[in-house]
Symmetry: C2
Amino acid sequence: MRSHYCGELNLSHNGQEVTLCGWVHRRRDHGGVIFLDMRDREGTAQVVIDPDTEEAFALADKARSEYVLKITGLVRPRPEGTVNTNMSTGEIEVLGKQVEVLNEAQTPPFQIEGYTDVGEDVRLKHRFIDLRRPEMQEKLILRSKVTSAVRSFMDGEGFLDVETPVLTRATPEGARDYLVPSRTHEGKFFALPQSPQLFKQLLMVSGFDRYYQIVKCFRDEDLRADRQPEFTQIDIETSFMDEAGVMGITEDMVKKVFKQVRDIELGEFPHMPYAEAMSRYGSDKPDLRIPLELVDVADLMASVEFKVFKGPAEDPKGRVAALKVPGGAELSRKQIDDYTKFVSIYGAKGLAWIKVNEIENGANGLQSPIIKFLGDDVTMQIMERLDAKNGDIVFFGADKEKVVNEALGALRCKLGEDLNLYTKEWAPLWVVDFPMFEETDEGKLTALHHPFTAPTCTAEELAANPATALSRAYDMVINGYEVGGGSVRIHREEMQQAVFNVLDIEEEEQREKFGFLLDALKYGAPPHAGLAFGLDRLVMLICGTDNIREVIAFPKTQSAACVLTQAPGEVDGTQLRDLNIRIRRDPASATSH
Amino acid sequence: MRSHYCGELNLSHNGQEVTLCGWVHRRRDHGGVIFLDMRDREGTAQVVIDPDTEEAFALADKARSEYVLKITGLVRPRPEGTVNTNMSTGEIEVLGKQVEVLNEAQTPPFQIEGYTDVGEDVRLKHRFIDLRRPEMQEKLILRSKVTSAVRSFMDGEGFLDVETPVLTRATPEGARDYLVPSRTHEGKFFALPQSPQLFKQLLMVSGFDRYYQIVKCFRDEDLRADRQPEFTQIDIETSFMDEAGVMGITEDMVKKVFKQVRDIELGEFPHMPYAEAMSRYGSDKPDLRIPLELVDVADLMASVEFKVFKGPAEDPKGRVAALKVPGGAELSRKQIDDYTKFVSIYGAKGLAWIKVNEIENGANGLQSPIIKFLGDDVTMQIMERLDAKNGDIVFFGADKEKVVNEALGALRCKLGEDLNLYTKEWAPLWVVDFPMFEETDEGKLTALHHPFTAPTCTAEELAANPATALSRAYDMVINGYEVGGGSVRIHREEMQQAVFNVLDIEEEEQREKFGFLLDALKYGAPPHAGLAFGLDRLVMLICGTDNIREVIAFPKTQSAACVLTQAPGEVDGTQLRDLNIRIRRDPASATSH
C-alpha cells in the first residue's frame, strides 16, 4: 500500500509523490493547517495538510493519536527555520493530498511518544501499545539483526541448523523441569528441554560435524531480574575441535556480531583461569571494566589477635581479602552502612574499612574502627601491600572463602557502578580451567558444569584426585555477564564412567537418565566440544539495558505469568481427564493461599 | 584437527599432505594392504595403508567399522583401472602415514552403508547411528539449507525475526492443546502454541510491519503419516499488504528456495478458486501433476431410475461425478475391487465403473455392471461428455457432495500414483476464494480457517448471508500437499464482532479467549495479512520423501513417543506435588489398559 516508509524520507525524495501508511504519532493545528507526525517502523515524518485539500483536511481533522492512516502527498523541503536536525526526516515534510483512515484508535492507556513513566505491569498488559514505542522497536529490531548476523556467520562457517525436540525427557542441567502430561501414555510426562545438550552430542555422534541452533530452552525456577522461564540459546557443537578451536570461532562470531550491529570493536578476549578470577575479582564472571581487585591479606592477619580476621586467616577454607577503592575516603558513614547492608545479602557478617587520608603520617593518617585491633604494624604492612594512597578506602572481607568472594566480588561491582569507576566500555574475556567438581554443603562432589564435561586429566588421575581436577570448560564473560559457556565433552565411555563414579551416580540412575547417550558413546563417538550463548542476555548487553524483559517481545513477569494473555489460565475438566491428571487441592495448601 | 573433509578431496589435492577425521565406513584387506573408506559429513575417501608404515598399519589393522580415526597421509591419483566414477573422490586415494584411533566402536545394530531394510523402530531407537546414513545426512543438510535460504530471503525483504512465547494460552486453531502445569499459579496451565497466530497479529498492531519466525508449534492430535506432535512453521505476517502482495512475496520465496537448494524451476503458480478445485479435483489441495478430472453428470443421472445415482443427483447436497482414466480399461477385477475398498475409507458405498473397449459400437462396446440400470442413451451421453476413448475406464461417485469429493478426489490421486499418470514433476498452485464458514453435521457454521480471517464482503453482507460469504484466505498447494496457508486478517472491531456473531461465540467466551486481541483492535490495528508454511512438509516435498520423520532429526512415533530417549517418561511424586497435580488413576480407566 505504501511507496516509502515514513522514516526513510529525506531531501533526495524532494518533489516525489509518496504514499505513507502508519500511525498518527502527534497532531498539531497551527495557523489553520494540520501537522501530523506519521510513524512507522522506520521512524516518523511530518505531514502537512492544508485546508485547500478539503476532503483530506476533513479526514485529518478527525484523526487522533494512533489512528492508522494512508496518506499520499508531495515531498518538499521544510521552510527555512523549521528544519529539525534531531530527526532523520527533519529536512523535509510531506504535503498531504489524499488521506484514508485505515482504522481508528481509542486513546491509548499511555503515551507512545518519549519515555513514559508508567509501571512495567501496565506496559506489559498493553504490550501491543508498549511495543510501538520507538525504544522498544529499536531493541527488537536490534535483536533480529543479532540473530541474522549470528546465522549468517554460522552458515558461512559450515554449521548446520538442526532442530531438536521440545517435547522430550528431563535433561541433565539440574534445574526444575517444565512438564507436559502425555495424553497417549497415561501417567507419563514430557519435559521441556533446559538445553539441547544431549541431542547436540548425539548429532556429533551421528557425524554432523558442526551444529548450531537458536532455540528456546526452559527452566522452572524462581526468577531473577535477568532470568525468564523460557529463554533463547545460541546452541553450538562441533566435532574434532578442541577448546582453542571452539573459543576461537565463537569469539570471532561475537566480535563480528558486535561490529556488524553496533560498530563496536571488542578486541582480543584475554583468557583467565578460574582460580585467578576468583582470587582477583571474587567472581567467575569478573567485570573487567572496573579496575578494583581483591588482595589476599590472610598471611598478615594470621598474626593479629582479632578473631574476626584471625579465624578465617587460619581456616584452610577461609579467606581474608582487602579491596582498595581510590577516591573512596570520601564515602560517608551512611554510605558505608549501606554497603555493609549490601554485603550482608551475600552472607558477610560485617564490612571492616580503613580510610586513607594522610598516609605520610603512618597509621595515624588512617581512619578506621579496626586499626586498634590490627595494630599499627600490620595495618601499615597491609597499606603497603595495597599501595594505598591518600583518598582511598580499603574494605575487608574475612569469612569462608565463598562468602568473601561473593560479598567482596559483588561490592566491587556495586562500587564500580556507584562511583562510575569504569575504565572502558567493553571488557570481554574467557574464564578457563574451571574445577571439575564443587563440594556441596554436605561434602559431596557435584559437577560444576554438567557430567559430560571432559577433565584435563586421565580417568585414573580423576579417580585419584577428583577434588582438584580441572575441566576443559570455558565461559565467555562480557562486562560481568556470563554470556556463554561450554566445554570439551567426554567422548569415551570409560571417562564417562569415571565421572559418574565420582558423582556417585549408580548404574541404574545412569541408564535411566542418560542411557541413550551412554549407548551412543559405545558406537564411535568423535571428540567433540561446544558452547551455548544466552541470546537474551547477549542482546540485553548489546542494547545497553539490564532488564531482560526489554529485549523479549512478550516476556513473563517475575511470577512466571503473562499479564497480556493471562497465561497460565484455567482449563476445563475434560482436558485434564484426557491427560489423565487432576489438580491437587490439599486442604493444607488451600489454607496457605 | 582435520585439514580437509574426506568428501571434498579430488585430483586438485594431488601431492598434498592431508589430515582426515572420520568414521571407518568400510575396510578391506587386499594384497597385504589395508583399504579404509573414511566417511565424514561431506562424503567418503579411500585411504590406503601399507605394511611399510608399521605403526599406522598396526592401528589400521585393529580398526573396525565405525571406529573414529584421524589419518594423515598423501593424496595421490588412484592407479589406472581403479578409478571409481561413482564417487566424487573416486579419482584419488590417500596414502595413510599416521593413524590415530580417536574412539572405538561396537558393531552397529544395522549397516550404515547403502539402504538397509531394518524396521523404522530400530532406526529410531538408534537414531544416532541411523543419522550417519548418507541419505539421512543429505536430508538434514538439505533442511538446513532450506531454512537458511528462507531466512536470507526474508531478511532481504525487511522481515524481522521476532520470537513469540512457547509457554502461552490456548490459541484459536481448535486442535487439542498440550498443557504445562504452572508451579507458581496453582491449578493453572500454560498451553503450547498451535501457532503464533495471535502474537503475530499483535506484532502488526505494534507496528513491526513485517514479521517472520521459523517456530515450533504443537498439536496433541492422533497422528497421521505426515503429522508430528511438534512441527515447525515458517510463520509470516505483514501490515498494509493485501492478499496479492502476500501471495506474491511468499510465492517468490518458495520459488527461490526450490531454485537455490535443488535447482528446480517452479514457474508461475496459477490461482484456482476453491469451488473450481472441489468441482474438478474433489479436493482443496489438488495434485495438478495428474491429468484426471471429476466431471459432473448429475443432470444426466437425474433421469435414470437407478436410485444409487438418481437420489444424489436430485439431492441439493448430493453430487454425481465421473472420473475418466485413460488406459484404465486394462484394470483387473481384483484391482477394481481394491479401489472399491479404497474409496470406502472415504465413506463411498461402492465404486461403479464402465470400461470402454469398442466405443464405435456404442453402448455395446462398453463393459460395465451398471449400463443396464442407466440405459444406453444416458450411458452414451455420459461417454460423450467425457469424450471417452477406447482403453479408458470411467469411475462414478454418487453420494453427498462431501463423500463424492473425498472419495473420487483420493481415488484420482491413487490412480495417478499407481498408473504413473504424472505429466509433470512439480505442480504448484494457489487455492483462493475459500468459503468463510463450513456447516457442521449439526448445521452450525464454523470458521473454515480461523475466526480472524477477513471476508471479501462487508460486515452487513456477512451478517445477511454468512453461508455463502467468501474469505480472503489462500493456500499454497504443491503436488497435492498444502504447504502453506494464510489470509488477510480482520483489523476492525465491528467486522470481528460480526464474525463472532455468525459463529455464535458469546461475549464472555470472546473476552476469555481472545480478549487481548479484541483490545488490540481498538487501539489502531493496521490492515494486515499473513501466511504460515509447514516447514517439515515443505522439506519433505523438496527431499522427495513422503515420510515426515525422514526430515526431522529426532521425530516422534505415531503414538507420540520418542523411542530413543524414552519420552514421555515417569516423573517422581515431588515434581507432581510441586506442580499441584496428581495422576488420575480411575478404576474404570485402569481396567481398560
